[in-house]
Subunit: 253 residues, 2 copies
Amino acid sequence: MPRPTRPSRAKTPMTNGKVTETRGPVPRAQAVYKALRRAIIEQALKPGMKLPEDSIGEQLGVSRTLVREAFGRLAVEGLVELKPNRGANVAYPTLEEARDVFDVRRGLERLVAENLAGRLTAAQAAELEAHVRLEEKAHGQDGPESIRLSGEFHIKLAEMTGNALLLRYVQEASSRCSLILAIYGRPHSSECAVSEHRQLIEALRAGDAARAAQLMDHHLQSVVTRALLAPRAERDIRDVLAPYALSEGLTPS
Amino acid sequence: MPRPTRPSRAKTPMTNGKVTETRGPVPRAQAVYKALRRAIIEQALKPGMKLPEDSIGEQLGVSRTLVREAFGRLAVEGLVELKPNRGANVAYPTLEEARDVFDVRRGLERLVAENLAGRLTAAQAAELEAHVRLEEKAHGQDGPESIRLSGEFHIKLAEMTGNALLLRYVQEASSRCSLILAIYGRPHSSECAVSEHRQLIEALRAGDAARAAQLMDHHLQSVVTRALLAPRAERDIRDVLAPYALSEGLTPS
DNA sequence: TCTTCAATAATCGCATACAATACGGTTCTT
DNA sequence: AAGAACCGTATTGTATGCGATTATTGAAGA
């Protein structure tokens, strides 16, 4: 491929001549970043998987440069691990890191709850309740749908605080939690109990900040205990084989 | 400059033949990132300042590629604003963003305090107290020294939690606070009251989590009120002129 | 058969090259 | 003279290329 002309920038000129484009225009680099991010969160790219620059670039139709840029940002967010001169892998958090992430997430979302208590508009409360109803409906199937929805509930809450940084941190923690659950989570742990979401909304409505914070804390705590306690997969072959080796009297280095 | 041979990788082979290098080896990209980060935090690069890729690369002796990579990461951390096709600037947070950052920081550091209460080893407590004594000594001069030290106190605390993610977030919030104070802070606001640091250590030692969290919260709250309340500079002309316009019955768009 | 080692292949780190866009000034029009 | 259209320049966006580093394979030696 010699040099494809750049696909024309995605501008949307309006009738008045202005250009909307509130946030569109770092287009391809951002697109690569988003694509990889989604692929990781949805586990199309599994934890620990190797991420070679050029095959990914080829797949996405961009050069290694942009892929690299995306890797850098994903590494900051903890979704990929960047080993010098050895390339990138989808992050494979240790159990300890997983604890860290959940601890921070609990702290952040407690903040969200405190911030929101008593400030929820009627429209917002309605939106949350509608969302919970969706969750309820999807509760039966254990498809990815159910997981996505319960994640989105927390994101929605963070959005409603109007605090952009808080939102970003919650999103980040949340996506790392997806990774973690992919590794250590039980197969059908239904993630979030719908009833707990309901109670939380109630407390927020009532303006009871302490109770809301408490509920959120417990809610996330139980997600951990429900889903995380049993390590399901091991980091690599050594971890898998170590017990066998020991029981046979061998000494793994 | 044709192609300078790459300066040999900074390895430090030990007598046993192993290479220490616990974290050295993404060398130049990381170096650029760190250099820019420090320059921004220490206000060698002032908020809002333009950051042209090639002049910066020239200055640091690297190509635009690496500078760009660093910009991306700094943008994620909120230290640089990246405007598509218009390059990068040192971030210039609005007052609203400033509030957001401080709110989140308070929440994060409350977490730190709760985590640490009662878990502080004797050595850690001693280290903190030594640090406070340094702060006390530097309190007289209003040089950057004093500011740096009070920042480091909070970083040290975050480190002691052993939670890497929490540390990263606190660092991030902290560096953004530096930016914010550079814009909106009063000239000689001495940032942190040393006595408040002392009280905090005491509560952590006593294992009184609630009190420690409370103290931390108030401490950071007073930093805000001490330093932040008076907007010193305005974002741009519109902000300056808006009040005049209103008082004349004009309507700024 | 199990190591050790060397040659080769694959991949990364970074600089450079080229295309696209935005900016500033000049000229042309009204 | 004020504004619009034009053009040259500066700067950004992205691809590609070259040297360096790491992984791999296969052969020789123990």
